[in-house]
Symmetry: C2
Subunit: 386 residues, 2 copies
């Protein structure tokens, strides 16, 4: 039944991309890999090309093309470096499903091309719905979320928002500083923030987990993905990351999805949907963990959650601004230019940036993003550690 | 959309019956009560008749008919005492949905009549699937379970057993003796066994919870209701009774339903299905409980779980025998004629009763049941406290 699964994976050498290929290994006969793309991991991309034999491969860093080519033993793969060629591939009919696991605004543009070309999109690129929620939500019936939280909601309700739902509750591990006292937040270092208790992820998203800005962004994504009101989206701290999210119905019942915290689970669900395929991961036995804990978010420690509601109650532009502010602030923190707490201050200050009122296309969004980033950089200067 | 909901409630004055009418109060315009039945609670039945104004009411104890009639202010209700008249009503088309909340073998027969007459049956009568699983499972597409555990599974998968399910996991509170040492089981009194930690239920089912024989019977029900293999049904101890049961998929995902432990939740789901209606109960906030606990069943303390698999691996008759053995043993325990531990011994001994091989009708089942009960009474005699 999966003979028609022709995949393009954007960001195949990242954490989500690797997990996607791992799931495909368990379902070899069901999927054909048409194209793989990577930013600059030529070694990993070459290995993937040799194993999955795609028709095309794209490497963003052209300085590494020769290195990549020297490592490829499967010579049928056409290596491209021109982003316009990748655009052409995304607009074509040589594939039907895009796995959007490339982060940043480049991922956003490429993902939008796939949606406009009527493809099924398995979405891990957070920027898409945060930066361009209004535009992307028009195509939401084509989108299957890969994020463990949104995927959990999707497993319960699909992309139907029905009258019977009271709200959805996104669970949050609370990150490494859940139980850390607010009074010591001044002293948080990059090393401390990079230690996530449950998930192994990229650096940016790991910091987002430490600030709980990941949950702020996920609230915005859920808003657009499931066509909910902002007050229908709640957050619950659940340190074990076993229950991945909850649908609360008006009749007092709640349905939720749980599993081992392993991205192969939501990825396999998205790949196989509406069927379930082999994820390579076993069932989670609740008796192995003995107890699951739950608590409310401490908004004093993590003002980040409130930013989501504030941004959603503003214009679509507000989400664009806080996303940019967060990205730049996290970069500056990782470069040890600002303190951990300054991430919050920079995002808060960014709410005062004057917004463009008329934005109707992806190009305008990307232009506005560049302009906002200039203004945010001005803000960041104020917080630089001498 | 519910204009066509014409209900008969068997056992309206019991715990499930009362909760059903409570839900109907919250959805007055959607349901019409056609007939209420009770065993001998004339006072409660009269109150229900005056409030819900059914066309018919049946009281099993004819000595209390005059008392009942003297309390009825709604004189349009026809009070019947002849069980054959109740049979005629169940075979008729003046209703479309039966709430089967009457316990025991009488409930089984009446429920079967409703199924044969093509009615939707909301099933709380445990005997139906335990005593006559093979016969009832032919009509399983007409059945919506009310039991919180089976209803939870039903909320996730409906009455579809699909290839993608690895197993279902029925949660169990573990009853009042979950943490009580096995060495003290000899000293368990009736009073101790009647104190259930989470649910307020009838006496028989409360003892079944203390022995975990309720979970044994629920495994058998799940086997027939969801068309599963016996090794696809597992039990997990979860003392808080918040997660009501779990569907484990082969891809490592599990979906579960949770709510406040209140029977109005599964009843409202069954009444409204496929829609959700007002249950009168609010959403359960997991942060209010802080943590949920899980552990494996201690089979030394509760051999009852094993009886289910042993009975299901035998003939359908085995389930009939252990149900009868349990019912008679619980009665004897409640009458203080046998000890708590003797309930297990009597059920174990009953496995040695020679079984009828050819049983194909409800009447033959009920005849066999009477015969088995005679043999079980012989066993019980051995365990009487002097």
């Amino acid at each position: 039944m999966f003979n028609d699964n022709k995949l393009i994976i954007l960001g195949s050498t990242g954490s989500i991309g690797k997990s996607t290929l791992e799931v495909i290994k368990h379902n070899k006969d069901s999927f054909e890999v048409i194209c793989l793309t990577a930013d600059s991991s030529s070694v990993a991309l070459a290995e993937q090309i040799n194993l999955f034999k795609p028709k095309y491969a794209y490497l963003n860093n052209f300085l590494l093309i020769d290195d990549l080519k020297s490592r490829i033993t499967h010579n049928q793969t056409i290596v491209i470096t021109d982003i316009n060629q990748l655009h052409d591939i995304l607009k074509s009919d040589i594939y039907n499903t895009l796995v959007s696991a490339m982060s940043g605004s480049t991922g956003l543009l490429l993902t939008f091309l796939a949606l406009q070309s009527n493809k099924k999109v398995l979405l891990a690129n957070k920027e898409s719905l945060v930066m361009a929620g209004d535009l992307f939500s028009k195509y939401r019936k084509q989108i299957i979320p890969i994020d463990s939280e949104h995927n959990a909601i999707f497993q319960v309700i699909g992309n139907l928002n029905c009258e019977e739902i009271s709200k959805i509750t996104l669970t949050a591990s609370g990150g490494p500083f859940r139980a850390y006292p607010r009074s010591k937040f001044e002293q948080i270092t990059v090393e401390m923030a990079l230690k996530h208790p449950n998930w192994s992820m990229g650096r940016k998203i790991t910091i987002d987990s430490a600030t709980m800005m990941n949950k702020c962004l996920e609230i915005i994504e859920a808003y657009y993905l499931f066509n909910l009101k902002s007050d229908q989206i709640d957050v619950l701290v659940h340190p074990e990351s076993i229950i991945h999210s909850i649908v609360n119905y008006k009749d007092g019942s709640s349905l939720c999805q749980f599993s081992e915290p392993n991205m192969q689970i939501p990825i396999s669900y998205a790949l196989g949907y509406p069927n379930r395929i082999n994820s390579g991961v076993g069932s989670f036995d609740l008796s192995s963990i003995e107890n699951l804990n739950f608590s409310k978010v401490d908004h004093d420690k993590f003002p980040s959650i409130n930013y989501a509601y504030k941004a959603l109650d503003g214009s679509g532009n507000s989400c664009l601004v806080i996303n940019a502010a967060n990205e730049l602030a996290v970069n500056a923190f990782l470069e040890r230019q600002i303190s951990f707490l300054s991430i919050f201050s920079i995002i808060e200050d960014s709410f005062s940036i004057t917004l463009n009122s008329m934005i109707t296309s992806i190009e305008e969004i990307l232009d506005a993003d560049i302009m906002y980033r200039q203004k945010i950089n001005q803000i960041i200067i104020k917080y630089l550690i001498n």
